[in-house]
Point group: C2
Chain length 397, copies 2
């Protein structure tokens, strides 16, 4: 390795200024608060949260007050118990590991994040999908969960091991009817996992009111925390099984690790920036979910305004019930065919106007997220898109 | 939740100044470089490494140059292929998931980190321990690996599924004879995993020369990266199996995720501070392992000097071959019995002199790590310990 060449790794940068408006579909909820930025450096080193760990369990640390924070997190999610994990996927993996057997089948929504499929694959599970309505709404018919549970029972001779629903999907930003799925799951006696990676931390979510057995959240997706950190909340009925303590014993040494939980692999290794930023952002996160109606209002305005551009159409549920918005944009795609920068013309034009987050090169469709943007920012982004359209010969109504 | 009360989460701090000398046994190798601190804030937000991801695989990202970095990491570990993971434990879990079946037995050293036991437990494996010599050296007899492999074969009718060795253990800082274990493993045809969480990034480690099939490393333990990030290196023989691509297919949608790797659960969620700091620190890490002999020299000086305090004795291999040093300190413990601050008198006195990292309250024994301390710092810490001893009536020779 050429040591001079290696130096470029020191100089990595996102090349964006503080003033940039980030509309990235999966980044808005993870943008750090000012409070999180303040603690980032102090807790940058490995194990920096563990300076005063006396019980070999990070969730018992009193300085900083992790132990209280975990209690407050449980209140916020409205679950009986909660643990941080190394990401939402690790929370899903833990549940599957704890309550399923290889060869079991789980029922999931066909809009689920890829990590729901992959964690099932890692646990050697089969998946049975609940269909959606397809283009243009991609609406999940939650009543189909009953039919799919029965299909699994008919074909395998036993009930599915788990029902999974994605609260809001990452592709269309569709909000699912959780209570109905919870009712169906409970009617059949199948445990129910809700993936709230795009909801917990940006809108009000009560595990108890929704009737979920397992509530999964993502700190870096929706709680203004640094990657990676997820949350796994559950009820007192399931806590013992899901957070089962280690029972393994060294056959020669007799060593045991009874303080550690098996399925989250001991203390989740988030004992640096992820947990520190999650804590520092928490007061603002608790406050911001109370104003979710205003966020939906902005997303609707945004969607309607962007659709004034000829040939642009919002996909997914209308009017929007979430701030992640997906548009198809054949008119932009037509421009890209003849533009010297191809589909990159949108990215270039946005960057020039200090807007980031639209996938570089894509023109057929694009996704944005308006969460936590001010009205001024929303209007500026709308105007910019409309300007880009007009400059490229597309009519704006 | 009382919103005023929540505010204290914003103000969390380690309460240490830049000038503090950190001698924490498991923190030294993870202390961020100046370069890492510089990129921390820029990449603080969730998915900040993914602004220019075009192939749905973080290891292919060109801006920042993750794709080149992964190649350089493989060179550094001297393995054919490497992937970041959400921590060393997740690397071990991935290997166990990929190549073992529930009910299999693995052979491991009895000095292994708890996460080696827990990942085995999560994978429903049995463990067979290779004994150590006990107090005071805790020396692993690596030749015993052969006997233990045969014991497993005799009692279960098949060879163990995996042999695991901890390169340097976290308790005594003993350095293991890797090549011998590799030879034994290969003689029996059992794959061999080396846990280099306390070696890769602080001393030279070549997966190829040592003959390991799987090399596990920890960014936040030994490569000056923010938690959590681990590395999983392997040979071209094993790469396909360990980094197996997803084959799951939605039964209704036909969705597939062939870009994602099953056992590391897709793109490892380290796409923020962990990967950014690992990259930024990398040039210094590559350089620092070349000077390992000087680190050992400092550790030996430190150990010898501390043992000049009456009643203090270094545990583990002598002379030291690693910078993690464990002392038993009955003379300190005697003081603690009558001190108004009990065992905290050591912590208090060190803190007053701006030294941190010794476990608060412990006096019977204590662990420190001298890695990357300057000679001046080493001498200052030694003098401080000797002063504390003398102030409490303990003779220093």
């Amino acid at each position: 390795m050429d040591s001079a060449k290696l130096q470029r790794y020191c100089g990595i940068s996102r090349n964006i200024e503080e003033s940039f408006i980030n509309i990235h579909p999966i980044q808005r909820g993870g943008v750090l608060t000012a409070e999180a930025k303040k603690v980032l450096l102090d807790f940058g080193d490995g194990y920096s949260m563990c300076d005063f760990c006396f019980e070999a369990r990070i969730v018992t640390v009193k300085k900083p007050p992790v132990v209280d924070f975990i209690q407050d997190l449980a209140k916020f999610l409205d679950v009986d118990e909660v643990r941080p994990t190394a990401g939402a996927r690790h929370a899903k993996r833990a549940v599957m590991e704890a309550i399923t057997e290889p060869g079991d089948t789980i029922v999931l929504d066909s809009l689920a994040h890829y990590t729901t499929y992959i964690t099932a694959e890692a646990a050697k599970l089969n998946v049975k999908e609940v269909p959606h309505s397809g283009y243009p709404d991609f609406l999940l018919n939650v009543e189909d969960y009953a039919a799919k549970i029965e299909e699994v029972e008919d074909s395998t001779g036993k009930l599915p091991a788990l029902v999974v629903l994605t609260h809001v999907d990452y592709n269309y930003g569709n909000l699912s009817d959780v209570k109905s799925v919870a009712e169906i799951s409970h009617k059949y006696g199948v445990p129910f996992l809700l993936n709230g990676a795009y909801t917990v931390g940006i809108m009000p979510v009560s595990g108890r009111n929704l009737g979920v057995d397992f509530l999964v959240a993502s700190g870096h997706k929706s709680m203004s925390a640094s990657a990676p950190i997820g949350l796994l909340g559950t009820t007192s009925e399931w806590a013992e099984k899901i957070f089962e303590r280690s029972k393994i014993k060294g056959d020669w040494s007799g060593r045991t690790f009874g303080a550690k939980e098996i399925h989250i692999l001991g203390c989740p290794p988030v004992f640096g920036p992820p947990l520190a930023t999650l804590m520092a952002s928490f007061p603002k996160v608790v406050e911001r979910v109370k104003h979710w109606d205003k966020e939906v209002e902005k997303a609707r305005y945004f969607s309607e305004s962007i659709q004034k551009i000829d040939g642009i159409k919002q996909l997914g549920i209308k009017p929007k019930e979430h701030t992640l918005v997906h548009f198809e944009s054949p008119s932009f795609h037509d421009v890209a065919q003849h533009h010297k920068r191809k589909g990159f013309f949108i990215y270039d034009a946005l960057k020039k106007r200090k807007i980031m987050g639209v996938h570089p090169g894509l023109s057929k469709s694009f996704k944005v997220n308006t969460f936590n943007l001010s009205w001024d920012q929303i209007k500026y982004v709308v105007e910019t898109f409309q300007e880009i359209a007009e400059q490229n010969g597309i009519t704006v109504q």
